[in-house]
């Protein structure tokens, strides 16, 4: 019984939780406070798998998964705008079949924090180490779940978090640190994986989806010789820019969905600013990821030039 972490009620929800829920911090290395929200399975928590869920970014909170994707509640916006949302049970929650941990990782993301902000200077390896440390402590605290089948999961930049963490977990098992941890596997959704494969993915995708014309497609294929990753040919750059110019205003996270504009964004911006992406932006940043080309950065949208992973832009 984890009395200090049990969540007994939530503002916005009137009803009984379908399963136990817990939340709190696990502190690692003395001053890295990692926040988790743990939802027990609604079916058979003692035998159902334990799944760790990680959103990506890097720098994005796993409450994105909890609130918007597969958490135990659907969040209905409050009325009037700005008031607390109303929570309803989500019939498609992943907690209907598994115990699931939503972890804000690395430190500095979501509700995870450190008093020493130098800890926010972090990378893939340190993130994997820290998350592994979190898991060891978490399973110590929730030892009744230690023998359950255990899986790692996540999406987007968790395409990096998950395999690197899985390697740490496997190394820990093999080294005898946690020989009985019942790690079974992992799942990754729309995950960042490899600069070449991911970098070459955009052009065939947007052509297949009808977002660029046959002429634009044939030009960029010819100019880049079908390889867009780390291609420094000026003709390729120019043709690639022509491709990227087709996406202004498009919701890159789902090309069928509208692009949401915050209530105070587009209408309040001067025209010159709105046109920044279309008129002044140079070639989309292509030399940051891994120090090499990573050519599927977000196109400029109406309310300013942005990148897919805004945290990288801030670097």
């Amino acid at each position: 019984i984890h009395e200090d972490t049990i969540v007994s009620s939530l503002p916005g929800f009137n009803g009984t939780f379908p399963s136990n829920q817990y939340a709190g911090y696990v502190t690692i290395d003395g001053d890295k406070n990692l926040f988790y929200y743990f939802v027990e399975s609604e079916r058979n928590p003692s035998e159902d798998p334990v799944v760790l869920w990680l959103n990506g970014g890097p720098g994005c909170s796993s409450f994105d998964g909890f609130v918007y994707e597969h958490g135990p509640f659907n969040f209905e916006p409050g009325q009037p705008n700005g008031s607390l949302p109303i929570l309803h049970l989500n019939p498609y929650s992943w907690s209907t079949v598994s115990n699931i941990i939503y972890l804000d990782s690395p430190v500095g993301v979501g509700l995870s924090y450190s008093q020493n902000e130098s800890n926010y200077n972090i990378g893939d390896y340190q993130t994997a180490e820290d998350t592994h440390s979190f898991l060891l402590q978490w399973f110590e605290e929730y030892s009744e779940f230690f023998s359950n089948p255990f899986y790692l999961s996540g999406e987007s930049y968790a395409g990096v978090y998950v395999p690197t963490l899985a390697s740490q977990v496997v190394a820990g098992i093999q080294a005898g640190v946690v020989p009985n941890l019942n790690f079974k596997g992992y799942m990754v959704g729309n995950g960042v994986t490899d600069p070449m494969y991911d970098g070459n993915a955009l052009v065939p995708f947007v052509h297949g989806m009808g977002l660029i014309s046959d002429d634009i497609y044939q030009n960029v294929v010819a100019a880049c010789n079908g390889s867009y990753y780390n291609n420094n040919d000026p003709n390729c750059d120019a043709s690639y820019q022509t491709v990227m110019n087709c996406f202004n205003g498009l919701n890159i996270y789902d090309i069928l969905e509208p692009c949401y504009h915050g209530s105070d964004s587009v209408t309040s911006l001067p025209v010159s600013f709105k046109q920044l992406g279309a008129t002044e932006r140079p070639l989309p940043v292509r030399k940051r990821m891994f120090g090499r080309a990573w050519p599927y950065w977000a196109p400029a949208v109406e309310d300013g030039p942005v990148t897919l992973w805004p945290q990288l832009d801030s670097q």
Binding site: Y25, G110, M187, G189, Q315
Partner: protein, 150 residues
């Protein structure tokens, strides 16, 4: 937050409410800072130091760990074309040739199964955050994969 085209208002309101923070045992804004869907803290500096993940996938699947790679097929951020290509590039034997998979009696996407318990699936009509766009179908593949059923 600067994430283009995405509304994070509901989560931002909820997770920055003092009563919610208290209920979930989170530190107040004065200690942990405001909740943001993606941090804008200028001290957050992330180094991409691990390189390609393909060697990790090779090692893990060869060690016998199961892997599911899923893709919302309308995501332009990390398009399915890349995930399909790198999974294929591993050269594993195909154990379940390209076919549709079903949810509630409808085609919900496509899959290809490989040796070493590697499975690639698409989720038809879903974007980057698959379960947000296709919650029922997402639960279907999630539960079936965990249970090891087809």
């Amino acid at each position: 937050s600067g994430v283009p085209c995405v509304s994070d208002e509901v989560a931002t309101i909820w997770l920055n409410n003092p009563a919610v923070r208290e209920a979930i045992h989170a530190q107040p804004v004065s200690v942990a800072g405001p909740w943001e869907i993606c941090t804008t803290n200028s001290n957050f500096n992330y180094n991409h130091d691990a390189g390609s993940m393909i060697p990790y996938h090779v090692n893990l699947t060869n060690e016998g760990y199961r892997a599911l790679i899923f893709s919302g097929d309308h995501d332009m951020c990390v398009p399915f074309t890349g995930s399909e290509a790198w999974t294929r590039s591993l050269g594993y034997a195909i154990t379940d040739p390209w076919r549709s998979w079903l949810s509630v009696g409808q085609v919900a996407g496509y899959l290809q199964g490989y040796a070493h318990n590697l499975t690639f699936i698409t989720v038809k009509g879903a974007g980057h955050t698959v379960a947000e766009y296709k919650p029922q179908q997402a639960l279907a593949f999630f539960s079936r994969w965990l249970e090891g059923t087809s």
